[in-house]
Structures are given as C-alpha cells and as structure tokens.
C-alpha cells in the first residue's frame, strides 16, 4: 500500500507531463502527417509563441506609452488570456512565409524540406536574439493559476494542471478539425491521393497553406502554455523539437492518436524514471523509441508514408 501511495504521485505526474509532450508534438504531427513535411522550425515557432506571449503579458509591446500604460493596467488574467489567443495568431504569418518557401520542396527528396526548415529555425532563433536579447524571461501567470496546491500530501503546481487542461482542449480541437470537418476530410484525402483530390476541383495548395498555418499556431500555442513552466530563452525551441519528433516517430507518422498516446507514454516513462532512476530520465524516452520501432517500424499507429519511398 505504501509503495502504491509513493508511486501514485509519479503516475499522475507522468500523465500531466505526457499531455504537455503531446501538445508540443501536435503541430508537428499535423504538418508531418498531413503534408509529409518535416518542419524542424517547429521548435523556433514554439519559442516565438512564448516570446510574443511575454510581450503581451509583461507587457513589452511597441505601443505609445499611454496605450501601453492602459494595457498594463488590465488585470493579468485578461492579459494572459489575450496572450493565449493572440500569440499563435501573431506567429501564424511566419508559418505562411515558411510554407511559401517550402513549396519548391514538395514532392522532392524530404531532405530538401528538412534542410530548409533547419535553416529557417536558425534564422528565427537569431531573430529572437536580436529582438529580445539573450537573457531569460519568465511569463507571468495570473495568481489563480500559479502557486501550488496540496494533493496526496504533496505540493503540486497549479499551473501544471491548467497547462494539461489546455493541452486537452487543443488536442480535442485538432481531433475535431481533422476528424469531424469537411476541411479535415479534404486534407486527409489530399495527403492520401493528391491527384484525385485536385481532379475533384479542390485547391490543394490553399489547403496545405491552412494546414501549415494551423500547425504553426499549435506550435506557438504550445510555446505559450509551456513558457511559465520552462522559462523563455532563445534556444528553448531545441527543447521542444526533439521530443516532438521523437513522439511522432514513436506514435506513427500522421496519426493523431499516435501523437496523443506517444506523448502520454513518453511522459509516463520520463516521469517514472525521473523519480526512480533519475540518471535514466532523459535517456528513457530514446530507449522507449528504440523498443517501439524495433517491434513496429512505423510506430504505434503509423501507416505507410510517402517518406518511406
């Protein structure tokens, strides 16, 4: 009983961590799964979301002093809510430009897209350094969402559970868009057989733009949600893109449920190993990946992808 009581907090922690990992992977999954493009700039878009959120919340906006003063007087709760909504919208144009740049790589060796997005990631990180400098920032969180609460005789981060809830909302939204809308059906059909979809008169180019923008906004949203936990610094994107990539491969390219279950599994493994074999906590996610792809090369829910050609 004692062992179970000791284990329970780490299981709960694993689930919340897993939801956050799944949130980070969501935008990456959308672009890779539906467009079959590996977007290595995902981490930098994640970081941009966090920085824009900071600019809105702190606030550090390029506005006239009196307007900025009025905005600063708005309660933090409203500013934070505005950041959650506006930061992804502000990052969306970066996704638009990136998608435009990537068009020449469509249908070619995936390496081209990979190299392009890697370069863009470096440019965006440098841009962040130029605009915000190299110092760290902390995204202020409303009092109601910060601090700790007691559960199972331990102090837990209140915000962490808010973040997990936001992750669930985002995942539900993506699932509804992909699985329950005409747009989602067209995008999936386009990914499956682009020629037929175009023959039916659907503008696949425009669809791809929307998918890319949605993926970009999800990356930025994840950046906003994770910023109060991880802090904000120029290279924070690297911390996001690696687990995102790993989760997608683990869960299976193109699978929504693969990303969700993959995220939860990674969270659980990292959380439990952190508690009971701390020296393995970082390595554990890679060991999990090796174990899964050894047994099932396409990941847990993966289907055959054009990337395999």
């Amino acid at each position: 009983m004692g062992t179970l009581l000791n284990l329970l907090p780490h299981l709960v922690n694993g689930i919340t961590l897993g939801l956050l990992f799944a949130l980070i992977a969501l935008g990456f999954m959308l672009i890779l799964g539906l467009m079959e493009q590996i977007n290595l700039a995902h981490g930098s878009l994640f970081a941009l979301g966090a920085y824009f959120a900071y600019a809105i919340c702190a606030p550090r906006l390029p506005l006239p002093p009196d307007v900025l003063g009025m905005w600063a007087a708005v309660p933090l709760g409203w500013r934070f809510a505005a950041a959650v909504v506006l930061a992804p919208i502000l990052v969306a144009p970066f996704g638009l430009v990136l998608e435009r740049l990537m068009r020449r790589t469509y249908g070619r060796d995936p390496l081209y897209g990979l190299l392009l997005t890697f370069g863009v990631a470096m440019v965006l990180e440098e841009l962040i350094r130029m605009v915000w400098g190299t110092r760290d920032y902390i995204l202020p969180v409303p009092r109601e969402m910060s601090g700790g609460f007691i559960m199972l005789d331990l102090i837990w981060s209140t915000y962490r559970f808010w973040a997990a809830a936001l992750a669930i909302v985002a995942m539900a939204g993506v699932w509804a868009i992909v699985e329950r809308t005409r747009f989602g059906a067209m995008v999936k059909a386009g990914a499956h057989d682009s020629e037929i979809v175009q023959a039916l008169g659907i503008d696949l180019t425009r669809l791809r733009v929307w998918v890319f923008v949605l993926g970009t906004m999800l990356a930025a949203f994840a950046g906003v949600v994770l910023a109060p936990l991880w802090g904000i610094r120029p290279h924070m994107g690297v911390d996001a893109v690696v687990p995102a990539f790993l989760i997608i491969v683990l869960g299976g390219v193109g699978s929504f449920w693969g990303a969700a279950i993959g995220g939860l599994l990674v969270g659980m493994v990292v959380g439990l190993s952190g508690a009971y074999a701390s020296e393995w906590s970082m390595l554990s996610m890679y060991l999990l990946l090796i174990a899964v792809v050894t047994l099932r090369a396409r990941g847990l829910f993966g289907k055959k992808s054009v990337l395999e050609v």
């Binding site: 907090p9 922690n13 601090g147 981060s157 109060p228 802090g231 990292v270 952190g274 701390s278 970082m282």
Partner: protein
C-alpha cells in the same frame, strides 16, 4: 558565430623557419627544451600576440560564456590602450564552443594549429574545459580555464599548461557545509547535474557532510538540459530532507529555481546551491532562494569595485546583463593575469610564463576580494576568497540581488584532496613554444 580582429597575416613555412631561428637566438635556450617535433617557434617582432577565447555562445552555458567573453575583452582592451604587452598588440579570436566537449576540442585544435593562438582562455562547462585541456596539453599551449569549477579540473584533470581561475565545488562545500549541518540538520539530499562538474561537486559535498557527521539520504542525478523537474520535486517532498544541496548549473538551475519558486518549496527544506553564477540568475531574481556560493559580487564594499563596474559598463552599454558578475569577473582577472605574467616573464615562451604564474600571489586589493589570493603551484588553481550569499531582502538598486553573509579565507576553503590527485608534468615533458 565567430568574431576575429586584425587576423594575423598567414606565414609561409620559410618565414616560420627563419622566425624560429631568430626567436631561438633571441630567447636563449628555452625554446629548445623537449623533443624537436614538439617545439614551435613563430615569427615575433611586432607581430601581435593572439589569444583564442573559447566561449560558449549557445547551449546550457551560452549566457555565461558570453559574459565570460565580456570580461576577457575588457582586460585585452585595457592592455592594448596601454600599448599591449612587450610592445606587441593583443589580438583575440573567439568561437562558440556550444557547451559541447567535441566542439571545444575542434575549436581548440583550430585556434592553436591553424590560427596560431599562443594562449587559450575560456570555458564554463567542465567537459568543455577538459576537452580543451587535452588539446592544449598536446601542443603545450597555456590554457586558462576561466569559469569551470569542477574539482576535477585542478585534481585528476589538471595539467601543467592549465590554470583554473574559479573556486571549485570543494571550496564552496567547505565554506557552506559545516555551518549548515550545525544550524539546520544532518539529513542531506543531493541534486546533481549528470556530468563531470555535478558529480565531482556532489562528491565533495558528500565528503564534507559525512566528515561533519551528517548523512546523505539520496542523490538524484539530473540529466543535462532537463526542463521539467516535477519528478524530482515530488521525490524531494517524499524524502523530506533537512538540507537539499544542488550542483546544478546553467539553464538547468534556472528552470529548477523557477519551478521550486512556483511551488513555494523554498521554505520546505534548506537549499544550498554550491555555486550561483550571475548570468544564471539575472533576469529572474524572484527565483533566487537558499544559500549559494560565489567568488565575487559587484556591490562588495571594497575599493576599486565601483571603478571596475563603471569601466565594464562603459565598454558594454548594450550588455544584456547590466553589471559584471562572478563569471565576467573571472574572465577579466584571468586574462589580466595572463598578460601580466607575460610581462613578468619578459617573453611569450610557455615555460617561462608558466613559471611566472606558479605560486604567484595577488593582493586582495588588486583582485577586489577580501583576502589575498595565490596560484597553487601544486594544482594550478587560484585559491581565493569564497563568499556565501542569499537573496537580498533590502536591495539598494535592481542589480543588488545578493546579500553576502560570509567570506572565507582561501586557506580555510582549500581543496585538500586536489594535490594528491593532480600530477603536473615536469618542464622536460611539456612541449615548448614561443610566439
């Protein structure tokens, strides 16, 4: 990112040979120590002395590396304004070592073999410092580890060509442990960054705790680049230690501090952070808690500090950190002492410069610390004043984050185990060179 100033004209082999003979004739015999294949003599005269500054600009210690660089550049600029050293200008080149030992090796090799840097300075990460040491030792190039504080740097990984400028984990542990054991409690938990500095620092803390009658109840290893500490913080709450001693650095300690503060866990146990680097706390002062070690603070009430801070601020009006901290201070002091040693040696010959450094004493006033310091001839580590600090409840300005609560003499914080582990090579086994 790489910066270079006044890059030296490339030299032909014939010029190098001529220069070698001339330099050898001018400098007497020192150049000809050791096996021929190891010796290098470059053309001298008015040729600038070139320093390779191996500083992280990215990775876990990217911020600290750049603050280190600011201190080094200030020292170089001050010497150049006065005409350089031995009538020669000082040039510098730098490259991002990326908080990555493999990159450190590659850059050190390039600086020495291709860019003809006569001296290397830099490093915050002990793995990077050790990697640079291996390359420097191969060529006999003098290397100043400015900011890596792993006890192993002046212990098992010491080198005749390396000088270590920061206080190490043992120094800080000795200053902190006894007092904390007596006043707080005997059950200690260690949080250890899973690399050389973390391991050697926690080992030093463990030794001090056990020697003083305390008990280490667990040691949680934290992989580098950990961003989510919830598992560890839950574990900490389950274990309920009296004292939590952390050897966590760079971006990792920033994330840890933020998460501990958010949970208000700073009061649930006593926290001792072995060493708190200034760039790791600037920007997030609200997450400063517990007791921590440092070697310098810009508001110490000592002569010369205000002038130094002013010079530093004049040199870097756009710096993301508005005042120098311990990292920039170490970079400045190390570079200044290297250039002074060249002057004392009257030569850039590495063996002469090493001799000018070994056992060298520096007054407290000159180093802007409370006690005199010296370079230990047995380990090549600078033995200096060790400060303990905590968050300042009554800051005089927005940079006044620390309240200094104690300062320990170098002799009282000495790493006694280091001389037994450090085996310095004799002159005959060190490749000699002169630039």
């Amino acid at each position: 990112m790489r910066k270079s100033r006044n890059s030296a004209t490339s030299l032909s082999r014939r010029t190098i040979m001529k220069g070698s003979l001339m330099a050898a004739a001018a400098s007497g015999t020192a150049t000809f120590f050791g096996p021929w294949r190891h010796n290098r003599v470059w053309a001298q005269g008015a040729k600038p002395i070139k320093l390779g500054l191996t500083c992280d600009a990215s990775g876990q210690y990217g911020n600290s590396g750049q603050d280190d660089l600011r201190g080094m550049r200030l020292a170089i600029d001050e010497f150049n304004v006065k005409g350089g050293v031995l009538g020669r200008k000082i040039e510098w080149t730098t490259a991002d070592t990326e908080t990555n030992p493999a990159t450190g090796t590659r850059i050190a090799e390039r600086f020495i073999a291709q860019e003809q840097c006569g001296f290397l300075l830099g490093a915050v990460h002990s793995g990077v410092a050790n990697a640079i040491t291996q390359v420097a030792a191969k060529y006999g190039t003098i290397y100043f580890n400015t900011n890596s504080s792993a006890p192993s740097e002046a212990g098992e990984n010491c080198s005749r060509v390396k000088f270590v400028w920061d206080g190490n984990g043992t120094n800080f542990s000795k200053a902190a442990v006894q007092n904390a054991l007596e006043k707080i409690g005997k059950r200690w938990l260690l949080l250890t960054n899973d690399y050389v500095w973390g391991h050697t620092t926690s080992a030093a803390t463990k030794a001090q705790v056990e020697k003083a009658g305390g008990q280490i109840i667990d040691n949680l290893l934290i992989p580098q680049n950990t961003r989510d500490f919830t598992s560890y913080l839950l574990k900490v709450q389950q274990i309920k230690p009296d004292v939590i001693a952390t050897a966590v650095g760079g971006d990792d300690i920033k994330a840890l501090r933020q998460q501990v503060s958010d949970l208000r866990l700073e009061d649930k146990a006593a926290w001792i952070n072995n060493q708190q680097d200034w760039p790791d706390i600037w920007g997030a002062p609200e997450t400063l808690f517990g007791v921590f070690g440092t070697t310098w603070y810009h508001l110490l009430p000592l002569p010369g500090i205000a002038e130094f801070v002013k010079r530093w601020q004049t040199a870097y009006p756009q710096s993301p950190i508005p005042v120098p901290g311990n990292v920039s201070y170490n970079g400045y002091m190390a570079t200044r002492e290297l250039l002074r040693a060249i002057v004392r040696a009257g030569s850039t010959n590495n063996l002469k410069v090493i001799k000018a450094l070994e056992g060298h004493k520096m007054t407290a006033a000159d180093r802007m610390q409370h006690f005199d310091a010296y370079i230990d001839p047995a380990t090549h580590q600078v033995q200096q004043t060790i400060y303990l600090a905590r968050r300042n409840a009554k800051p005089v300005d927005k940079t006044d984050l620390y309240e200094i609560i104690s300062w320990t003499k170098p002799e009282s914080a000495l790493d006694d185990a280091a001389p037994g582990k450090c085996k310095l090579k004799p002159d005959a086994e060190v490749p000699s060179y002169e630039i």
